[in-house]
Symmetry: C3
Subunit: 159 residues, 3 copies
């Protein structure tokens, strides 16, 4: 194969890798809801890097470390959501990949069951910082803020 | 072309096919809402395999066969939704493809118009079982359960 | 490289380009919410072609031209949303690409903060007409109608 043809193949592989990154990151973000809404600490932790963190709007301090993030499903507030009926739903993220790092900006909503309908109990902005690891993309840091008029929440929607 | 180069091309084609499957399945799932919210029985039926089924949370028995699934848009309850103003909105599915079969897990929400706002009338978990047919991916089976605290609903969010 | 191999590479590149179009259009649509919910007129305008338009349901006339579309974030109604806390969230679009033109059909929802929850203040159907420009895909025309039972809204969900 000529050098020109080799380079053409190299380019194809690079473009393909970019699309695969995009797909993998989308799946990662989409997997958060099902993990916490089934109360699965292990599946939730598995989305994060070992020392990754999750800074949740409205809580005093961030969860630090995959295990701590996973254990958020065991706290009484979350267990109450599960018993009542809950859905943590992400919007399609805007993704920017830069080598082995990426960011994803999206909205999340928490729907809670209430009699004959569901209440929209939280609407938040999210900024995910992601890392490519030996096992695929993982969450190094997620920040989440309630969209209640606070500038801090709007800041997370900026690229 | 050398055998090594041929194999490189084979791999590229395989990876591309996986991304195309992902895109096609996403489009299929995203097409459900527009089909039922325009009251289009034919477009709804066309998403399913001929003998596919849809097991809807809160209903006595599943719809069996593409035609029966399509005809759900003609039932009085659904016609009432259309007259009132409705939106059946899917979240981004978590997709797993295994050859000519695939599963997709996601949330769905039904918004109904009510005066100056919309009520979140249903929030459900969904498990789609999909098949690759000669005409592309189709729904072989969809299960849907209300996220009202019932374990059966949470089960549909597991991979 | 043989002609057959060259054609194989051509096909690969074509299929890859289709997936890249799909990704780019999804990112474009997903970028609308973050642009308007941060009150960023420039970022909003940048999504449209110079002479593109946005026909918003419930308003007297469409915004015409990227600059006018971007300036919608400065109108008092929108500034009130920002102060109160708002989220303009798109569903995954159903995308059809035809050369340098494309359409995308999706739902949008406007969530507004209200004390201890968020109100679903708007649920709309959307039809985006997109154009491939020298700088990538841009919005040539977007139509949006409230899903309040009106046939005009249902029409925007049809392919």
């Amino acid at each position: 194969m000529s050098t020109a043809d080799q380079e053409r193949l190299d380019r194809l592989e690079r473009r393909l890798r970019e699309l695969e990154d995009d797909r993998e990151i989308r799946q990662l973000v989409a997997s958060y809801g099902p993990a916490v809404d089934t109360g699965d600490a292990e599946a939730t932790a598995a989305l994060w890097t070992t020392d990754g963190s999750y800074d949740v709007g409205g809580m005093e301090k961030p969860f630090v470390g995959a295990e701590a993030v996973g254990n958020l499903v065991t706290i009484p507030g979350h267990q109450g959501y599960l018993a009542r009926g809950c859905a943590h739903v992400m919007s399609a993220p805007v993704i920017h990949v830069d080598g082995d790092r990426a960011t994803a900006n999206c909205y999340s909503r928490l729907y809670l069951h209430d009699d004959d309908h569901w209440v929209v109990a939280r609407v938040s902005s999210n900024r995910w910082e992601l890392e490519r690891t030996a096992d695929g993309w993982r969450v190094a840091r997620r920040e989440n803020r309630l969209l209640d008029g606070d500038e801090a929440a709007r800041a997370l929607l900026r690229p």
